[in-house]
Assembly symmetry: C2
Homo-oligomer: 503 residues x 2
């Protein structure tokens, strides 16, 4: 006899509780922060940015936005807007230094800002790659797969946004499918659409259905990526989305998209100066629309290869930029977004891994708050790698452990063990070790620690091969988190209505 629906639900809840135990709390970076610049150096960049804002300014391609800017004291000439330092200071100060983002499972609510870190998946690739099927256009199935992989990783705190472009969905309604997938297949926080004013409004509406209209005004349910088209442009689509989110008190990440040498000077001091002016212009605007609406200072900055003009990730120049930008965001008391597991490599080979960690450790040491692209990024962001995603998550696990810092409790000194283990003896069997046997060290399940002979007998699988196995296992083991059927129905109904309207 088959078990009843309530029994099945009960068992599922138990499994979910068990699974939830492997979910790690969002890490807090209470380690000393790495400050690359002196206070004097930081002030020089700040002052240069203020000069850019006051004398050069930024273009806003939207009439209503220009009116808002003018009304609140910015100088508007045509589409170009300049800001006096006092005005910048006044409006930047209105933004909260940290806020809570709601998740469908309240245990997964996130603090954005302060010393808190949030890891979110790669955003934007039109392609995916795996060992079996190679590089191909991403589909909604791929999108759902990545939502599931992010849900299953204890080290990924956020479900992200456009993890991949579901190219098999119509462009006009794709945003609905993506938001629904985030809600349906995960219970972690997610991002809204920024492709138009209407798509942003749809995102807000779906968040309202899920969380309630009042609830999301108290704490944002969405965080969305507003890119500034450097140099010095905010286009009508981004401004439309920004206005919708700001008025709904949903969080935005204002991010100049910069490849130094192309969209900004070939020197990092100049590039960071320009970036700072651009980010602050966007942030000031958000606070003019809705004072106190949550906003994140964003940096997406690397350099081009000057021989080919191609973007290059994992560079030393981008490391310097992360540290510098983080100090600027702290100076303005704003949550900061930057970094990630960037790679220029097309595949999850050694190049990709070198590049990824070369950016990721500075991301941690600089105390970035919101780390988009924390897993899966390949090929300058054109491809999301299945294997790279789970390998990157393994590194995120290690970083969770690193962030705990050094335990200096009396027990951690293990003086009794040091006294009693004889010269040349070993600590494997001491009471001190046995007590800590299971939890003492982070263990990377995905990495191969077998002796070479054993590994060769197993067919010498490289990291990518093992990672692909892990991807298959994870997707097979996946079970969707339960969702209130009434909410699911309301979301589906809204989606269908909007799809009918938009087709």
């Amino acid at each position: 006899m088959s078990s009843s629906r309530s029994e099945r639900r009960q068992r599922r809840r138990e499994r979910q509780r068990e699974a939830a135990q492997v979910h790690m709390a969002q890490p807090v970076n209470d380690l000393p922060v790495y400050e690359l610049l002196t206070e004097e150096g930081l002030e020089r960049i700040h002052n240069a940015s203020m000069e850019v804002l006051a004398e050069v300014g930024m273009d806003f391609y939207d009439e209503e936005s220009l009116a808002i800017l003018k009304k609140h004291g910015a100088r508007v000439e045509g589409e170009t807007v300049t800001f006096d330092p006092g005005l910048v200071e006044e409006y930047v100060a209105k933004a909260p230094s940290q806020f809570t983002q709601l998740a469908r499972n309240p245990d997964n609510n996130l603090t954005i800002g302060g010393n808190y870190i949030t890891f979110a998946p790669v955003y934007g690739p039109p392609f995916v790659i795996d060992q079996e099927r190679g590089r191909r256009e991403a589909t909604l199935e791929d999108f759902e797969n990545f939502v599931k992989l992010a849900y299953l990783s204890p080290y990924m705190h956020h479900s992200g946004g456009t993890i991949v472009e579901p190219t098999d969905c119509p462009v006009s309604t794709r945003h609905l499918d993506m938001i629904y997938s985030h809600i349906k297949y995960s219970d972690k926080a997610f991002m809204g659409s920024v492709t138009s004013t209407e798509n942003a409004a749809d995102s807000v509406r779906m968040a309202e259905i899920l969380f309630g209209e009042n609830e999301i005004r108290e704490n944002p349910a969405l965080i969305s990526l507003i890119n500034i088209s450097s140099p010095r442009r905010l286009d009508d689509k981004m401004l439309g989305a920004l206005k919708v989110y700001a008025r709904a008190r949903q969080a935005t990440i204002i991010t100049p998209f910069i490849l130094a040498g192309a969209m900004a000077p070939v020197t990092i001091a100049g590039t960071v100066t320009q970036q700072n002016a651009e980010a602050l212009a966007g942030i000031v605007f958000s606070q003019m629309v809705e004072p106190g609406t949550p906003v994140v200072y964003g940096s997406f900055l690397t350099n081009v290869d000057l021989q080919t003009g191609a973007p290059v990730f994992g560079t030393p120049e981008s490391q310097i930029a992360i540290y510098t930008s983080a100090q600027l965001a702290r100076r303005y008391n704003l949550p900061f977004r930057s970094g990630g597991m960037f790679a220029s490599s097309k595949i999850s080979d050694a190049q990709a891994a070198y590049e990824a960690v070369m950016t990721m450790i500075p991301t941690i040491m600089a105390r970035v708050n919101f780390v988009l692209h924390a897993a899966g990024w390949l090929e300058n962001g054109l491809t999301a790698g299945y294997e790279k995603f789970v390998m990157d998550c393994e590194i995120l696990g290690m970083l969770h452990t690193f962030l705990k810092g050094l335990d200096l409790s009396d027990e951690a000194f293990a003086m009794e063990s040091i006294r009693t283990v004889a010269p040349g003896g070993h600590h494997l069997g001491t009471p001190h070790t046995i007590e800590r046997f299971r939890t003492a060290f982070y263990r990377a399940d995905l990495f191969d620690y077998r002796p070479a002979e054993e590994w060769m007998e197993a067919g010498s699988p490289d990291a990518t091969t093992r990672a692909y196995q892990k991807v298959k296992e994870l997707l097979k083991s996946y079970e969707a988190p339960e969702i209130d059927p009434a909410v699911d129905e309301a979301l589906t109904a809204f989606m269908e209505q909007r799809k009918a309207e938009l087709s």
Copy 2:
């Protein structure tokens, strides 16, 4: 008609001068250092170590060494030696805070200590691996190949020591072949043998032939790796070598070899406490043998996988240990050795690269002075990877650029370019960019930045495949630096004499 010998020599000198231009100066880490621990935390570890030294002590398995220790005020009971804090402080203070190591080419002389960084190749593997021939026992030819690769890298400052074990040479005379290879095939600084008292003496004799007896007493020509067999043992071979080098005023690196959980407690505070006690015991001894002889505080510390007992590299625990150990070395005003491009992976895949950078960036941020294993390490140190060697060197190049920090000159702010490039314009053609076109960004020649289509047409070569090509090209292009024929003859004669005596 063939050119004369002097003409050929002249041309070779010119080629060498050209090649030398790509050699980078040893980097100086004048960036802010990352201090993980508070001063109070650091003092707790120091004090705990002093307790270990005073009450538990270390074993020295050599009669003469015990007599030296006793004579200078240490307490000796059997083979166990304990030290009062005052005695430790007194003798540690005699060691220089930095020193110069001589290289055959004086342009390659190195400063060891202070803010200077030295990168040296992997040390010790009995195996090598490359894509064509797979994993196999290392030979003298492999040894010479790695000496050549280190010589050819502008980012490798040191020729290292036992880069690989030349297993085709008799154990008793292998040290002679290795030292001769370093001298003959490179003009960078190198390390001495520590496998016995006699082998250390042979190393010193060869350095004297090369540099002169008085010269090497003024500045050491050798730096050699004295490992402490943790927990708490210095064996007769290591003590024999240490005495030879100290008396000849050659530098040693006193390094407890520790896998936390096996040779030391399973907690990092306890492990670092034990390591500090052990390193200081060795350093104090070196200064009792010869006050002022150059010595380096060494740390080689990672943890075991508690499920298998195998060592694991690239772990978060080892990152914490590097930062902590570096702070201790600075507290004692001693040059510090640690870190490297460690990996547990058997091959140069993504795992190896992730692991390598996970240790290497902390190595830089903690301001390590002497970085052994800076390239080539695989399989927990059992294998030297040809491809990994050249890939690691590419990362070292990036780190050289990172260490330059942020240029805050007026020109670097590029305010004129920011003012004149219109919104949506680009900086590729500005006078500011064109002036800096060739030198603005570090370019990793080994990494692939081509568009995916172009890369696929080229056969989709992964990083390891490209690296193997680079290895072949480098070895083909190699030309030995010129050596004074009289010195070469004297070295060869000494080697032959010693080989006859030792066979």
